[in-house]
Amino acid sequence: MKSILIVEDDALMLKIILKILSKENYEIDTAVNGKEAFEKLEARNYNYDLVITDIMMPYSNGFEIISKLKQHGTGRVPVIMVSNVNHENIVMEVFKAGADDYIKKPVMAGELLIRVKKLIN
């Protein structure tokens, strides 16, 4: 069973993403900020099939999470960034940082599912 870590500080957004992904058979962990995300990553030895993360969060942002994943170096965990920031510079920064995909909020349920399936498989 594929495992996903969702890092999102907005409770409603987290609920929505969970419900969207619950249509498929994934094992899902959640974190509400960067610090909790790091703890979950270390607890599983970075062994997730996909990480979905917001950019702006308390303690650490999405870029720091990607940086942490790169530092760990064991295998390549795909990352999808989700944010309501639409500035073109941010989008470029996201891909420069090493994210595999970027979804702008508000999300489309079908779109999120397709992008997750594409990366996780």
Binding site: L12, M13, I20, K23, K105, P106, V107, M108, A109, G110
Partner: protein, 377 residues
Amino acid sequence: MSLSQLLYEFELAPFVVQVAVGFIIFSVTITSFAYLLILIRRFRGYIYDKRQEMLEPIIDDTIINQLLFNEYTEDTADVSAIPLDITVLKQAPFRGRANRQILIRYLMQYRKNMRGINGLLLKRIFLELDLDKDSMRKLRSSSWISKVCGLQELTTMDVSIPDVNILPLTNSKNRELRAAARSAYLKLSKNEAFKFFDVVTEPMLDWDQIELFRIITSSEELVIPNFANWISYSPNKTVVEFCIKLAVHYNQVSAADAIVKLLDSHDHELRAHAIHAIGSLKLDEIEHKLLSMYPSQPLQCQIEILKALGKIESGKSYDFLTTEFLYANNFDIRKAAARSLVKSRGITEDTIAKFKEIVTPENMLILNHCMNPLIQF
């Protein structure tokens, strides 16, 4: 001691004591009143939280089941054809005004997080529950805060508002209401989104302009008109300035004639905006006019002319810019001239060598500053 005895003692007491007692009574009364208000407020907050706690699972389950687990959403793009079962949201707990307001808030939160067919379904739920009527009622309230709430609700749910309700609000004397109404009008009115420019009498403040600019330039559905009309005919100076900025942003060379006419305006601020726009649009055919009007202009306009010459980059005003850089008395003039020289690539190694022999140390400092690639022109 009875009250009458106390009053008798009070009347016999010295004036200072009477004042002190009066002050104490007044303070205790006010403090008690304040505490009472705080308690009432906390109680209302507690009731609201309880109500929200009760309603949240019902709302979440219903909305999520109808949106994300509705099997018809993947088969069709026609929102009106998708069967929706929102009976539970029409029943008892949701008939009261307070609970309906909670429901509106939740729908708005969902709408901010979801788009596509789910976003349209949320709008449909909002309309089928007649929640748009609640929001429209707020627009008729005497309280400007209620009006702003109503506007935000209707804008978030993408429900159009009749012009007769919203246009007067775009010209309200209340700044916050005016800004909210203008933003709402732009977001909701796709084809004639700029109609409120025709009725604006109140000034568009700088912050209002920034917010409107953000909404206009980030909207993908807005039909952008030619702003020349308002540049030429609007009696509101701030509308003219704002339309000039928009014309520059959208590179509307068709508005050039209207902008150039403003060079003859008596208002030096409008002239400055027009000159800035001419530079940004790189209207090199107007360069000679800028040079000829330069001596008679106030400082603000002169600086804008120098900047515009740099942006136009024709190379024809190189000597003029050099003269201003070397010999102008005013520091800002010399700085603007130097920037334009650098911008128009008039500075070569030979030029720098020549300048080093003749410029003052201050001018050399200005030139080095302008040549720094980190300084954005």
